[in-house]
């Protein structure tokens, strides 16, 4: 079809070539074409953050970016960042503190939290709360999530 494009990108360190429709969102491409179902489609209009993935080192909403826009770029998802061990400290803290319930928001929440971890500064609870306010969680009261992130950032909680 005239609106299809060939793209080549690196997903979780692996080179991927696909033909995609111009209108396909990145999260749908990852889920439907690559079978990487860890990023979730929660609202599909950029509000909830469940589809958060990383593109060239920056977190983005997988539902607000087109797959074709990822051409030539590096995409990292929850699956790759789990296997690389980058998220291990956060995942351990989330587990120990039960900072998740249904787990639908969790991959996006972890990627957002990892931004703070990578920045390498201590943060107040208010700053942590502000940073993750683009990621909705409907099950927890956010309290345990803040505890877990605080534990990793500040070595306390």
């Amino acid at each position: 079809m005239e609106h299809d494009f060939d793209i080549t990108l690196t997903v979780n360190g692996v080179r991927v070539q696909r033909r995609v429709e111009a209108r396909q969102h990145l999260v749908d491409f990852l889920r439907e074409d690559l079978g990487l179902t860890g990023a979730h489609a929660g609202c599909e209009h950029g509000v909830c953050g469940a589809c958060t993935v990383r593109v060239d080192g920056e977190i983005v909403r997988g539902c607000l970016m087109l797959a074709v826009q990822a051409n030539g770029r590096r995409v990292d998802t929850i699956e790759g960042l789990s296997d690389s061990g980058e998220l291990a400290a956060l995942q351990k803290a989330f587990h120990e503190r039960n900072a998740l319930q249904c787990g639908f928001c969790t991959p996006g929440m972890l990627l957002a939290a990892q931004e703070l971890v990578r920045a390498g500064k201590k943060r107040s609870r208010e700053e942590i709360r502000a940073h993750i306010s683009g990621n909705y969680c409907r099950c927890t009261g956010y309290h345990a999530i803040v505890d877990a992130i605080e534990q990793v950032l500040n070595g306390q909680g």
């Binding site: 929660g42 209009h45 509000v47 587990h95 249904c102 502000a130 909705y136 099950c139 927890t140 009261g141």
Partner: protein, 796 residues
């Protein structure tokens, strides 16, 4: 040593609590943390087709004609069907129950035939090879509509100028009156009478995972496997079986990971029934996942109430009576199979619940409207009953010039008054209102906050403190649904199996929605059998393998499912000891199990690894006595019977500051003291409470499904419909009083809904406490900045 000399030991948790009461992390959280869960939309099937629904843009309209010609030509389309075609495979249903006397509702079809009764009701379906192709084709379906007048306002619905379903006679789905007698006399002799009308905004659950179903029909077997994001797999098995005409045993419902439910995913949805029917019709797997816009239009809404309440009390501060008039609107159909009459019914049951007055009168009407349907959402009826009770209680305290905590202290049912029958007829086994009140006041340092509040008022800082005491329905018996004819199980079963390596497999009918069901079942099973938790695996959410049960609703998982696991675990321990006794040629009563070992009961000396029990029983039973058969798979069931419900109690407090220029409410703190009986895992319970509190805060401050006078949902997306974010939520401090129920060995009551039940009332009271010096007051949730500025007369 003879048997008689052995100390009396009850097996299991009575002597060794093991993991019960421990904050153990949930084993099943690991996969979710790596994005390796299995939500319905994550599953991959060959020949999978996707259902896309054509939905009514009108609140009320007749379908003159449906034209599918263009849609059928579109790329990737498998079928385009209307309600009549689907009705040949799926019979309609009626959402009424026998114990709600007089409740009425018309038959509802999977896809509307002839008429749409709310904006969002499905009127046709496109099945395509991909979701996007289906959406393209759905846009090509042409509908010739004849708009009909819509009944949108509930007062006008009750007045009955226009009747939505003429065959029913009027718009009243259900009504109930309750009267202890003596109410007028109590009001006549009262020193103080207060009255208020409260409005509650219609809102919804907003599960981050939309409703999801993948139905896979096998034409050769005439069998149906349904992968379903649901709370109640066995209920849905029964419903698919009866409405699709497939034998019960040939329907298997599997609920893997469920991305939030909160009561939203325990109902029968027409589009989901249609999806199952389509799989049968088309003889291939068909999937439907509600997108966010569809979720707002079709996930059940809840809580649209207008309640007038009066309270009578003496000048000494003794509450004499409550008088209630509730009106609630439920959309055009009572939802199947639980009905939409329960929420209002609960408001009648629970209003005034924590207090010891004896006179109570209530009147309640449930009416039809042309908006989306409403039904049971987390804490059903409780947030309304608690808020209006606590709102009117605060008003009485204010009128008496009495501190709200002191007023409650005088009126809460005393802790030594149980068992107790409340004037609405409900029975309490044992509650602890007085203890929870005192614990809360200490926890929040109530006196200090009051002193600080007074100081800040002098500086024109508007801070408020709100309290909300509550009771909550948990562990329901068949009195909730079964007695009314609903095929909804109040019992649950658990099967425990000792595997050859000494591991324990647990299968239970209660489902995991993220609340930690599987985690606490592992704790209970490990404790009851005597193994470490790493030896336990838990399987839930599959009608093909688990014992029959009700699933997850009404805060029943721990109290009912947990008890079944405990009973099965104790039985498995006893059976494993039979094997060990045979192997060791010892008396069973000399032995016990702890730490994966059979041990000597008195000396605690290890006698035999449990793995040896498993190995011998499975692979070398020939070495056991000829008349002995090992039974290492056991099933036990549990149904609460003595009480209709195992009530819990609790109390919450909210601390807020209001900006009188913007109307913004800043939440400074929130406290919750809850008595849910035996706490199995404090960490899980606390975050469940907090999550519930945050949903309740959403109702109080942000969430409302706003409809236009024409019945159009105006904010049906996640940008316009606000849900709480981390940045605006406070830290939430939880504490517990533990009064175990004596109906079960475990003693656990429910806790999943308590936070949601109490928070709206606490926040409302805190806001009104803050506004009091300015003579302003709010009574319509959600308390948006606009409503607060209106109360302050800053905007018209």
């Amino acid at each position: 040593m003879g048997k008689a000399e052995l100390p009396l030991h009850a097996p299991g948790t009575q002597t060794d609590k093991g993991y019960i009461g421990q904050s153990v992390p949930r084993p099943n959280a690991q996969r979710l943390l790596q994005g390796r869960g299995a939500f319905v939309d994550d599953l991959r099937f060959p020949r999978l087709a996707h259902a896309v629904f054509v939905r009514s843009p009108h609140a009320h309209a007749r379908i003159r004609k449906l034209d599918f010609a263009k849609a059928r030509e579109a790329r990737g389309v498998v079928a385009v069907l209307d309600g009549r075609a689907v009705a040949e495979y799926c019979t309609p249903w009626v959402g009424v129950l026998g114990h709600l006397k007089g409740i009425k509702s018309p038959p509802q079809h999977a896809i509307a035939i002839e008429r749409a009764c709310w904006q969002g009701e499905a009127v046709a379906v496109v099945v395509a090879e991909s979701r996007s192709q289906g959406e393209d084709a759905a846009a090509l379906v042409e509908v010739d509509w004849e708009e009909l007048p819509a009944v949108v306002d509930m007062e006008r619905s009750l007045a009955g100028e226009r009747v939505i379903h003429p065959e029913l006679g009027d718009n009243v789905c259900f009504k109930r009156e309750h009267d202890t007698g003596g109410v007028d006399e109590a009001f006549a002799r009262a020193d103080v009478v207060v009255e208020e009308t409260f409005h509650f905004g219609r809102h919804t659950g907003v599960c981050l995972e939309g409703r999801s179903i993948l139905a896979d029909y096998n034409a050769a077997e005439h069998s149906l496997t349904v992968y379903h994001s649901t709370q109640a797999p066995h209920m849905m098995q029964d419903i698919f079986s009866r409405h699709l005409g497939i034998p019960e045993g040939s329907v298997r419902v599997i609920a893997k990971d469920v991305g939030g439910s909160y009561g939203i995913k325990v109902h029968v949805y027409p589009d989901e029934m249609a999806t199952a029917a389509l799989s049968v019709m088309l003889r291939r797997p068909v999937k439907f996942v509600a997108d966010r816009l569809e979720s707002f239009l079709t996930d059940i809404h809840a809580r649209e109430h207008r309640v007038k309440v009066r309270l009578a009390c003496t000048k000494a501060g003794e509450i004499l009576a409550f008088d209630l008039d509730d009106l609630t609107a439920i959309g055009p159909y009572s939802v199947y199979p639980r009905t939409s009459g329960i929420e209002g019914n609960q408001v009648v049951n629970l209003t005034g619940g924590p207090y010891r007055h004896q006179k109570y009168r209530a009147k309640m009407h449930v009416v039809f409207t042309n908006k989306n349907v409403t039904c049971q959402y987390r804490a059903v009826g409780h947030p309304i009953a608690v808020a209006l009770t606590e709102g009117i209680v605060d008003l009485a305290a204010e009128k008496l010039g009495m501190d709200p905590a002191e007023f409650r202290r005088r009126n809460l049912i005393p802790d030594d008054a149980y068992p107790y029958t409340f004037p609405s007829g409900i029975k309490f086994e044992k509650l602890s209102h007085q203890q929870t009140l005192e614990k809360l006041l200490a926890l929040m340092d109530y006196r200090k906050l009051r002193a600080q509040q007074a100081d800040l008022r002098k500086k024109n800082v508007l801070r408020g403190i709100g309290l909300a005491a509550m009771i909550e329905v948990t562990n329901p018996s068949p009195a909730f649904y079964g007695v009314g004819g609903a095929r909804i199980s109040a019992q649950d079963g658990a099967t425990l199996r000792l595997e050859p390596t000494g591991m324990v497999t647990v299968l239970c009918g209660v489902t995991e929605q993220g609340q930690g069901t599987e985690g606490i079942f592992a704790q209970i099973a490990a404790s009851a059998v005597g193994v470490t938790m790493d030896k336990v695996r838990v399987i839930t959410g599959d009608t093909g393998v688990t014992p029959y049960g009700g699933g997850t609703w009404a805060s029943r998982g721990a109290g009912i499912g947990g008890e079944a696991v405990l009973l099965a675990g104790r039985a498995l321990r006893a059976n494993a000891l039979d094997v060990a006794a045979a192997v060791l040629k010892m008396d069973k009563h000399e032995l016990d199990i702890a730490g994966n070992q059979v041990i000597h009961r008195l000396t605690r000396e290890p006698k035999l690894p449990l793995a040896e029990v498993g190995r011998i029983a499975h692979f070398r039973p020939d070495t056991l006595p000829a008349d002995f058969q090992a039974e290492l798979t056991v099933t036990r069931h549990y149904t609460p019977r003595q009480y209709g419900f195992t009530f819990t109690n609790g109390i919450q407090a909210s601390h807020v500051e209001i900006d009188p220029d913007t109307g913004f409410v800043k939440l400074l703190g929130h406290w919750c003291v809850e008595d849910s009986g035996t706490v199995i895992n404090p960490m899980l319970v606390d975050e469940q409470l907090r999550g519930g509190v945050v949903q309740g805060i959403g109702a109080a401050l942000f969430e409302e499904c706003v409809y236009s006078p024409e019945g159009q949902l105006l904010n049906g997306n996640l940008a316009d419909y606000l849900v709480p974010m981390a940045g605006e939520m406070p830290d939430i401090v939880c504490a517990h009083v533990e009064t175990p129920t004596r109906q079960s060995q475990l003693g656990a009551k429910g806790v999943g809904e308590a936070g949601t039940a109490g928070a709206p009332g606490a926040v409302m009271n805190a806001i009104n406490d803050a506004l009091a010096p300015l003579g302003a007051r709010v009574t319509a949730m959600p308390f948006t900045p606009e409503r607060i500025l209106k109360a302050l007369k800053k905007v018209p």
